[in-house]
């Protein structure tokens, strides 16, 4: 359902473009003068893979049904040059910011392929794609036994430069087969699906003036503090009565209460700032249905506005933005399937020798529209950061953004040649507008039918840590081809 632009929507868009930011937010930025390292991380996780053909075995063909597979690779750029000049069709909405991107190809989720039941699998791929961790069982109900890169960075930054929220985790609801975000071994992160509650959680207690809290505001703050203190006392008392495993669970709960206490305190000391507008925000009813049907036009952009406003207000330096696997709201036009997830699999039936070869173009149009919409949202985040002054440059200069998924080719559950799109200059450490393909067969085989890489997400995430100025030798488990960073990023 498309809504006609209203004044309120217009204002929200204007805020998203950072028109006339209040002076305080500008000066807030100056505290963050470039120090030659990243200050901020955004992980954009697009469930269900991209429009590619790389199978679990590395070839471009489906060994079980030759010729049945769709013929497209819309993720790859126009040429193999190291300068990113022509984007693939899937990334077309990023054309205006292509100079801010670094596209990595030939990168495997080798932790997923090593542990997945058949070299992939939804659950295992989800829980390894950001963690590079060991998992409980490699199956659909697998849990990661280590933190995801976003939370790892968030916890480091929380120590170095605390903010009220260690990370802000948002999701456009859909139909997912697993959660990629982990705080620690076996501890998932939940993402907020609804803009309204996200706003309440992040901005409700942010003051809009700098005249200091009123006595009533102070009383309310003391009230909230008393409740949290009380809950913490109750948790401590129960913990004394239970065994180790249960004590661990209660300690995690207590950690979260302490985080809420810190938020209360930090919000008190925060400068005033512009809050996003979430008026009439739709509410998720599950499976990608929002009650007002506004997922595409409203929820997606609203989450972007919330994320950007939270950064500008100094509420956090880490954000995750998930988009659920293809959403029922998109269907049934023009390709009709019963579940969003099925559309990815339908790519295995629309090829020349497939069961539905006559529907190839309908399939293509549907999945391109959906993936372009996702890219457009990612582009809005990039542009929003770029439009926000910070120090001598802008927020994008001091940020790292990662766009990825649990699969490359969703229809084949392939964790090989993963989507790995970076943006931002990491405080000057990274040079953008680049394209690096680690598929060593690419140079001799223009079609890139063959595949051979020694680079995995472990290396990319190690580079991200280096981008923040930390000199970790390795991120993740030992299911990698080599340790250390991606040399092109450092």
């Amino acid at each position: 359902m498309r809504r006609s632009p209203t004044r309120r929507n217009f204002l929200r868009s204007a805020a998203g473009l950072c028109v006339a930011l209040p002076m305080l937010e500008m000066t807030h930025g100056k505290l963050w003068a470039a120090e030659g390292k990243a200050k901020r991380l955004v992980v954009f996780f697009s469930h269900g893979g991209t429009i590619t053909r790389r199978s679990r075995t590395g070839t471009l063909d489906d060994q079980y049904a030759p010729g049945a597979w769709h013929p497209y690779d819309l993720w790859k750029p126009g040429d193999e040059g190291v300068n990113l000049t022509t984007l693939g069709e899937e990334m077309a909405p990023l054309d205006a910011v292509k100079g801010d991107l670094i596209l990595l190809r030939g990168v495997d989720d080798s932790a997923g392929s090593a542990q997945g039941d058949y070299g992939g699998k939804h659950g295992c791929s989800n829980v390894t794609s950001l963690t590079c961790a060991d998992t409980t069982d490699g199956g659909d109900d697998a849990e990661a036994l280590g933190p995801s890169i976003d939370q790892f960075v968030a916890q480091r930054l929380a120590e170095e430069s605390p903010t009220p929220f260690s990370s802000i985790d948002l999701m456009v609801d859909g139909h997912n087969y697993g959660e990629p975000l982990y705080r620690a071994s076996g501890e998932r992160i939940s993402s907020e699906r609804n803009p309204g509650p996200a706003f309440d959680r992040l901005f409700k207690d942010v003051t809009e003036t700098d005249s200091g809290p009123t006595p009533e505001q102070l009383r309310i703050r003391a009230y909230k503090q008393s409740v949290l203190d009380g809950v913490l006392e109750q948790l401590n008392a129960m913990r004394a009565r239970v065994g180790k495993a249960d004590a661990y669970r209660l300690e995690a709960h207590a950690d979260h209460i302490r985080a809420l206490e810190k938020q209360l305190e930090a919000l008190d000391n925060l400068a005033s700032c512009t809050k996003p507008d979430v008026t009439n925000a739709p509410f998720s009813e599950g499976y990608g249905n929002y009650d007002d049907g506004g997922m595409q036009d409203i929820v997606g952009p609203m989450h972007v506005d919330i994320l950007l406003a939270a950064f500008r207000c100094g509420l956090s330096n880490v954000a995750t933005y998930q988009i659920g696997d293809l959403l029922t709201d998109w269907l049934p036009s023009p390709y009709n399937t019963d579940l969003g997830h099925s559309l990815g699999h339908a790519g295995l039936a629309v090829g020349q020798d497939g069961a539905e070869s006559d529907r190839l173009q309908d399939w293509r149009a549907t999945i391109v529209a959906n993936r372009n919409w996702r890219m457009d949202l990612f582009g809005k985040v990039i542009q929003g950061l770029k439009d926000t002054p910070e120090g001598d440059g802008n927020m994008l200069d001091n940020s790292i953004l990662l766009f990825t998924s649990e699969f490359s080719c969703g229809g084949d559950h392939s964790p090989i040649d993963m989507p790995c799109l970076l943006a931002g200059r990491a405080g000057g450490k990274w040079t953008t507008g680049k394209h690096y393909n680690f598929n060593k067969a690419a140079k001799s085989d223009p079609s890139q039918f063959d595949y051979d890489t020694d680079t995995s997400l472990h290396n990319v995430y190690t580079s991200i840590l280096h981008g923040f100025g930390w000199d970790d030798a390795h991120f993740g488990n030992d299911n990698c081809y080599k340790q250390g960073p991606v040399s092109e990023l450092g």
Partner: protein
């Protein structure tokens, strides 16, 4: 049990990873078997369990009932992982604050005094003890009261008397004592209990019973029974279990159980009854109102059989009574009401029999355009017969379109029914391992389209023009040799399932999972089997839940090893 063995062996032989009723080969001789731990004649044994979190529904019900606020709706985190998330904790805080903010809607006043008046220490004490007993599901010990009184005292430094009481209330509403199910048990008296196993206390039993049968906190009568020691005896537990199971609040439990059984709220693998997409051109009768009516019909049949009828599982699978409004009457092609009002009618007995032949189930387990014999068959095998099928082989074959229609066979255009298309696409070596079991069950549903409407023929537009193909709904329930039951149509299959020992055993297992929110292991099987014996000897579904609620697995706990 012998039949289960044969089926398990059969499936293992096909290469379709199978396991029936949680019963691994050899388990009759091992734990859970006669003389072994947990088995008949052996010491009482149960699986290890730890701290459990309330489900979002349980938490909302609990807060709703604590303050008597029936319209309360809370925004809670859906994650049910073992370790609570930051967002979930934040939402618990928000929920407790929301409840306090709805003070005007409370019909239960927690504070036994005029809170706008002067400080009243006795009021604070009475509130903590009285409200605490309900919220924490036990009579509070003095140190627990002291801890909450301290919360009050500290809050009083910055808040009014009333505000300080609210601080204590808001603390209690998100306290771990309310939110978690902590079961430490008591020292066993006497013998016959495996080492490390402890009988639950009366309070813990009251809590298990209430959340199993009512999905909310125990009422005062149940708490009083716990305090009086009545739940320490089998007779006492039975009396309370019978009271709760037959109470009006138990209606929602049974309705909810069978809605879950039919997966009407959706799962990872398919959408819910409300969100399942249908092609509007092919199904003009479809509407959100029709979907809502389907759900009402399903729940009404459960309620009628369990509370007003003979209470038997078999009847749930064979009754042709239906609670329909105008939309549903039209869908079923029967005379009945024409408007929004619902009435009980009889459906044609050769077309419909019980829950599996009703529109709700048939709509969820179907595609956008066509019915899905594979998904219908797989659901019956998994959920009704507890046959665990292995995952589809790579590439994930579940999304290959199976829609019938014209195909080229050796140069000739042939029109295939969906059944024929399924056979053609699933008969090769590796697919056939599982589909030889799934398809014969799913094919019995061939007379129902993707919206559950009865069809006598399959119509379509083929390469040579319109076609009309006869439907073949013959199939079979799995079993080895003579145990494999040929059935024709879903009416016959439902009747066979209603009589089936495997289906009744599986139902006990599903109720066990609902009661204890975990999968039974070998040590629990005696408890599951005991419940099955009740239904097999003519007992009702109420008898089944009472048997489970008085089983050893329900009455005992085994603490994690480091706790012992």
């Amino acid at each position: 049990m012998a039949a289960s063995f044969l089926v398990a062996a059969t499936l293992a032989g096909t290469g379709c990873i199978g396991n029936i009723g949680g019963n691994d080969e050899g388990s009759l001789l091992g734990p859970g078997g006669p003389g072994g731990p947990g088995g008949p004649g052996g010491p009482v044994d149960v699986a290890t369990s730890g701290l459990r979190r309330m489900t979002p529904a349980q938490y909302q019900n609990t807060l709703r009932d604590l303050l008597g606020d029936p319209a309360l709706v809370l925004d809670l985190d859906a994650d049910e992982g073992e370790v609570i998330t930051q967002l979930a904790v934040d939402k618990l805080r928000g929920a407790a604050a929301a409840v306090v903010g709805r003070r005007q809607s409370w019909t239960v006043q927690p504070f036994p005094c005029d809170t706008s008046g002067a400080d009243d220490a006795q009021c604070v004490e009475d509130f903590i003890r009285t409200f605490g007993r309900r919220a924490f599901r036990h009579t509070l010990a003095d140190d627990e009261v002291l801890r909450l009184r301290t919360v009050f005292t500290k809050a009083r430094a910055t808040q009014s008397f009333d505000g300080s009481l609210l601080v204590v209330l808001e603390t209690m509403l998100q306290s771990p004592d309310l939110y978690y199910f902590l079961e430490l048990g008591r020292d066993p008296s006497g013998t016959g209990i495996a080492s490390g196993v402890r009988p639950l206390t009366g309070w813990e039993r009251a809590t298990r019973l209430s959340y199993f049968l009512w999905n909310t906190l125990p009422d005062d009568e149940l708490l009083d029974a716990a305090e009086a020691g009545e739940l320490d005896t089998a007779d006492g537990m039975r009396a309370q279990a019978e009271r709760l199971a037959t109470h009006d609040r138990g209606r929602d439990t049974f309705k909810g159980f069978f809605s879950d059984w039919l997966e009407l709220d959706g799962t990872k693998k398919h959408p819910s009854l409300i969100t399942a997409n249908k092609d509007a051109g092919l199904y003009p009768a479809d509407s959100p109102e029709l979907r809502e009516a389907m759900r009402i019909e399903t729940e009404a049949l459960v309620e009628r059989v369990v509370f007003d009828g003979d209470g038997r599982f078999e009847t749930l699978l064979t009754s042709n009574e239906a609670y329909v409004n105008g939309l549903l009457a039209e869908l079923y092609g029967v005379d009945g009401p024409s408007g929004d009002a619902f009435e009980w009618v009889k459906l044609p007995s050769d077309e419909r029999a019980g829950l599996l032949t009703r529109a709700a189930f048939l709509t969820v387990f179907a595609g956008v355009e066509v019915k899905s014999p594979i998904r219908r068959g797989a659901h019956v095998l998994h959920e009704v017969l507890c046959i665990e099928l292995g995952p589809p082989p790579p590439p994930n074959a579940s999304d290959v379109p199976v829609k019938g229609g014209s195909v080229d066979e050796d140069g000739n255009v042939v029109n295939r029914t969906i059944r024929e298309d399924v056979v053609a696409k699933t008969s090769n070596g590796v697919c056939n391992n599982c589909h030889s079991i799934i398809n014969p069950v799913g094919f019995t549903f061939e007379h129902y389209d993707a919206l559950g409407q009865w069809i006598d023929t399959e119509e379509g537009e083929g390469a040579d023009g319109a076609y009309s193909l006869p439907i073949d709904a013959s199939g079979a329930l799995p079993g080895a040799g003579a145990d494999s039951a040929a059935v024709d149509g879903a009416v016959e299959m439902s009747a066979a399932l209603g009589r089936s020992a495997e289906a009744q055993s599986c139902l006990s297992k599903r109720f066990f999972e609902s009661a204890l929110r975990r999968v039974p292991i070998d040590a629990d099987l005696a408890s599951v089997d005991g419940a099955t014996e009740v239904t097999q000897s003519g007992g009702t579904l109420t008898d089944l839940v009472v048997a489970l609620a008085t089983s050893n697995a329900f009455l005992h706990a085994r603490l994690p090893e480091d706790d012992q």
